[in-house]
Amino acid sequence: MRQFSHINATTVAEAAAAKADGGAILAGGTDLLTMEKDFVLSTSADTMVNIKTIPDMDTIVDDGSLKIGTLAKLTDIAESSTVKSKWASLAESARRVGTPQLRNMGTLGGNLCQECRCWYFRAHENYFNCFRKGGTLCFATIGNNRYNAILGGQVCFAVCPSDTAIALTALGATFSSNTRSNAPIADLFVVLGTSLGDNEVLTEIQVPAPASGTVQAFYKYAIRKSFDFAVASAAVSVTVSGGNVSECKIALGGVAPTPYRASAAEDELTGGPLNASTAAAAAAKATNGALKLTDNAWLVPIAQAMVKRALLTAE
């Protein structure tokens, strides 16, 4: 691990200024420090900016909509009676992250902003200087890409590893930072990570109250059941009115560089009833436009199965 200095920020402004000076934002540290230990990047930040010392940024408040400070621990979200009762898919997605130890350390902001898990990106000592690190090539496209993106891949085919991001996308969440307020959660993610600026610190996530008649579910498929990153996951939020689906949001995880809205599947479902037949038809369209690489075609049926099962759970 390279040497670094460490500061305890007490305000968001102080943390943002330190980040602008080249510091790295440190919350739970479960991703950042492991990357440092493995020399994943060729260079690293000179300063670790601890933001856990900023007061009142770990709160979970229901004032009609849900407001979660980005320092809220994943365990607290998973076990919050408020979140479980009204935003069950978010609680479930937090519960499925890592191990109890990781959830006790990891924060919501960290889960959203963590780096990808592509094994070319994560190789020891920057063995593959891939496009995501400033190189010219996505090695996964010519190598073993069994866990890489089937949807939305462009210059990089690493997938978004966050579980909570998928649930938040289906719930229509927004986020705030020191420079933006109530921006759509989709704006937080870009193919190469997050859209956060050099002086920007994520501070809060807002989730609107579910409309009457809305059901939601989060389904995750992982190779190892005890703890693992998603091979494919699906979060759905479906509002049924008069026996028909009036609004539907379906988000896919593990199969695209960002949380992926399956709009073709949403269109298929909207306006009709939600049942086994329509769920299967919508699931079949969830991966429309999938670009299969040499080893990842198996993700297509699994992603479709996750969508179908999430919809049937919500039925």
Partner: protein
Amino acid sequence: MFDPQVNPEDLDAADGKIFLISNPSTFLTHAEVCARAPRIIGHATDNWGSTLTREHFGYPIGHAANQMPVCVSGVEVAVDPETGEFEVLNLTYLTDIGRIVFHDGAYGQAEAGCDHVMAQAVYWDCIWDKSTGYYLNSYFWQSRMPTSLDLPIEVYNPQLREGDSACGPYGATGMGEPAAGNHNTVSLAVSNAIGTYITEGPLNPWTILKAMGKI
């Protein structure tokens, strides 16, 4: 001698021989088949059962490490045809370990053998980059070693049989997780469930989906 790539459906076994159903005079003995098995662990030694160094209180003293236990296994699985996942519902194996000297230790080895079966059948996978030879999944989180929560110990059914292997000390045999080589039984159970043979391991979802013609 027949082509070892012949279809299993074309074969039958009797009297220590495996033969072509269409032509029983074309056969391999069990010993010949075992000699060809690609995943035999270790090797059968020349002094299998034959080296006695001396007697001790009337019991033969030999080389315990060379006295390999014999085990047979049976596995029952349920396969999810949509995702290629499968669940082991029953993992039973019977080990003939000669004379049992330390029952709890022997049973612990037998149960640990079940862990090996599961780990080798489902999880252990070394993936190299084709161009560079780089070991891609070298981290524990990447190689997905199973934890105690991933191993279905509630369906393990290891059984010990105290037999007559007389050439180890006190009639005992070595007892080093003897079921470890039986992971292919899981593969056979999955093959039986989906109706087509799987010849690769571990049993990843993509392997099963591919065998089922889903991808």
